[in-house]
């Protein structure tokens, strides 16, 4: 601990505390307190209508999830896992591909990178409306293309078999520019001598990538996988606009939002779902970090 050089001898003691007081109190009231009381509310039957009693009911919501609501609950967990896996794998692959393609400082490349990065500065509302139009089954441009390719028709975002995959793709479309930029920053830190040495040793393109580029990107891969997975495990804003959780796209987050703020609100059951979402986030996060970090060490 060091001493603060500012203030008089009397004010020195409380000056640092005064400095952090407002943000800390604000964060306690609007950050930590709501966050922790999610667990508390998950043990109640609170509906959310003003004037209704809180009614503490122990594990009732948890046992409901595993009994009467099991099919809804288990399918939302399954959809969440598919969603996270799909988005993470695709976004890493596409982000890395784009990074390899656009890493150099060439004419026009700045513009291409900016265009690829652009979708994520838009609100989910804009992206949601945009792709609702593109995949509109009557008049959208995806319809004639699909019809021309396969001869069939599809309801796209209104189709049980398509909706989840499309939402995953739209999520990837929105954020792969970020993954690309993180990879480009890492690619530029790889010393060029390594590539010279590899080409002197007669290593081809694939072997150079396999034994030099990919291992040296381990750090960036950790960051990208972790940020992507953690960013989409609680996703529901985009889904809310695109499908409203219908047609097999009800993730745990969407289920929570629906339960808490939908037609027939139950804040107690919703809080329980938020707790589960937290647990799943924690499990996925620690598993990913464990494997990714180990990979970094061994290489």
């Amino acid at each position: 601990m060091s001493t603060i050089p500012f203030g008089t001898r009397r004010t020195r003691r409380w000056l640092p505390w005064a400095s952090i007081a407002v943000p800390t109190i604000g964060w306690l009231i609007f950050g930590l307190f709501p966050s922790v009381s999610t667990v508390f509310f998950s043990f109640t039957e609170y509906s959310g209508f003003p004037g209704t009693p809180l009614h503490f009911c122990g594990m009732c919501n948890y046992s409901n999830a595993f009994n009467s609501s099991w099919s809804d609950f288990s399918s939302s967990v399954e959809v969440t896992l598919k969603y996270v896996a799909g988005v993470t794998v695709l976004q890493i692959a596409i982000g890395l591909g784009l990074a390899l393609l656009l890493r150099h400082r060439r004419k026009g490349f700045g513009l291409y990178r900016a265009l690829i990065f652009m979708p994520q500065v838009f609100s989910v509302t804009i992206v949601g409306v945009l792709f609702s139009l593109v995949f509109d089954p009557q008049n959208g441009p995806a319809e004639p293309i699909y019809h021309g390719l396969t001869g069939g028709t599809s309801a796209f975002l209104g189709d049980q078999n398509w909706a989840l995959a499309l939402v995953v793709l739209i999520n990837v479309w929105m954020f792969s520019g970020y993954t690309m930029l993180v990879y480009i920053a890492a690619l530029r830190r790889i010393p060029p001598e390594l590539y010279e040495a590899a080409s002197l040793d007669g290593a081809g393109r694939f072997r150079t990538f396999r034994h030099i580029t990919w291992p040296l990107l381990a750090n960036a891969t950790t960051v990208n996988v972790f940020l992507t997975a953690m960013g989409c495990v609680g996703e529901y804003a985009l889904i809310r606009v695109l499908t409203d959780g219908n047609y097999g796209t009800k993730t745990l987050g969407m289920y929570m939002f629906d339960t808490a703020f939908g037609v027939n609100p139950s804040l107690g059951y919703g809080s329980m779902l938020a707790v589960w979402q937290f647990i799943i986030t924690l499990v996925i996060g620690s598993v990913l970090l464990f494997f990714l970090r180990r990979r970094e060490v061994t290489l």
């Binding site: 601990m1 060091s2 603060i4 050089p5 203030g7 640092p16 400095s19 952090i20 407002v22 800390t24 604000g26 609007f30 950050g31 709501p34 966050s35 009381s37 999610t38 509310f41 959310g48 003003p50 784009l98 393609l101 656009l102 026009g108 291409y112 990178r113 900016a114 265009l115 690829i116 990065f117 652009m118 500065v121 609100s123 509302t125 804009i126 949601g128 409306v129 945009l130 609702s132 139009l133 008049n139 441009p141 930029l181 993180v182 920053a185 890492a186 960036a220 950790t222 960051v223 804003a237 809310r240 606009v241 939002f257 808490a260 804040l267 938020a274 937290f278 986030t281 924690l282 996060g285």
Partner: protein
Amino acid sequence: MSLRLKEIARTGGLQLVCIVISVGFFALPLIYLALQAFKTNNEFLNNPTGLPHPWTFSNFSDAWSEGDFSNEMVNSLLYAIVPDVVTLILGVFLAFPISRGWFKHSNVLYGFFVFSGFLPAGLIPLFIEAQKIGTYNSRIGYLIMTSLTGAGFFFFVGYIKTIPREMDEAAALDGCGYIRYIFTMIVPQMKPALATFGIFGFVAGWNNLILPLVMLNDQSLWPVTRGLFSFFGQYSSQWPLVAAATIIVALPILVVFAILQRNLVEGVAGGAAAGSGGVAVAQPVENNE
């Protein structure tokens, strides 16, 4: 000679691939949307994929007046700028004493703030709390709730460490007060960090859909994201009108992006290092103390 031709062909091919991907895949959906905004509803139904044949501009004025977007733009600006500025200033005041180690357990304090970022999202209790304390369905209430989240703080702690302590001592000896020191010495030194965070904070605040959806009931309080969402629900059969409304809502952020894209892109590249620091929880403090 043939080698040069080959190389020209290769770079040309590369450029073509890049253009097809970046424009065709990432920009085309938006361009398509923009084109539909210039069609009449009938023309869109007859010809949904081609260029607008007379270019019509009435969709924009219709959407603007029917969607109440002028009022919502003002709300959006308020909801994006006020919390952004307040968060930045409070974040510096929070990060400065912690990064200087002026508390008995600065590391614990830092770790605690980092850890709390991993706790469950408290949207439901926040909703209940807002109704109890009167910040629900209120412009001021919404601004208070979004201004006091402490975002950006971790990033600042590491950044302030790069500003030498000797500066603090010299300034204090010269009789510079604490608040004045922060505003005249620390804040200018942190300009790049503040700019990056300020831009990302503005974009995030402008784009937020969920919090306005939960916290703001009256249409007069809505930001454009919430307004567009309900406009889309109301006029979903009139695509050209919805497309015009979407362009109206997207345009301000597109302008911000066009002006600041260099900073945004560099912010991400620089943030990659900060991101890896965040993954190894609280590592920077342990190393530097």
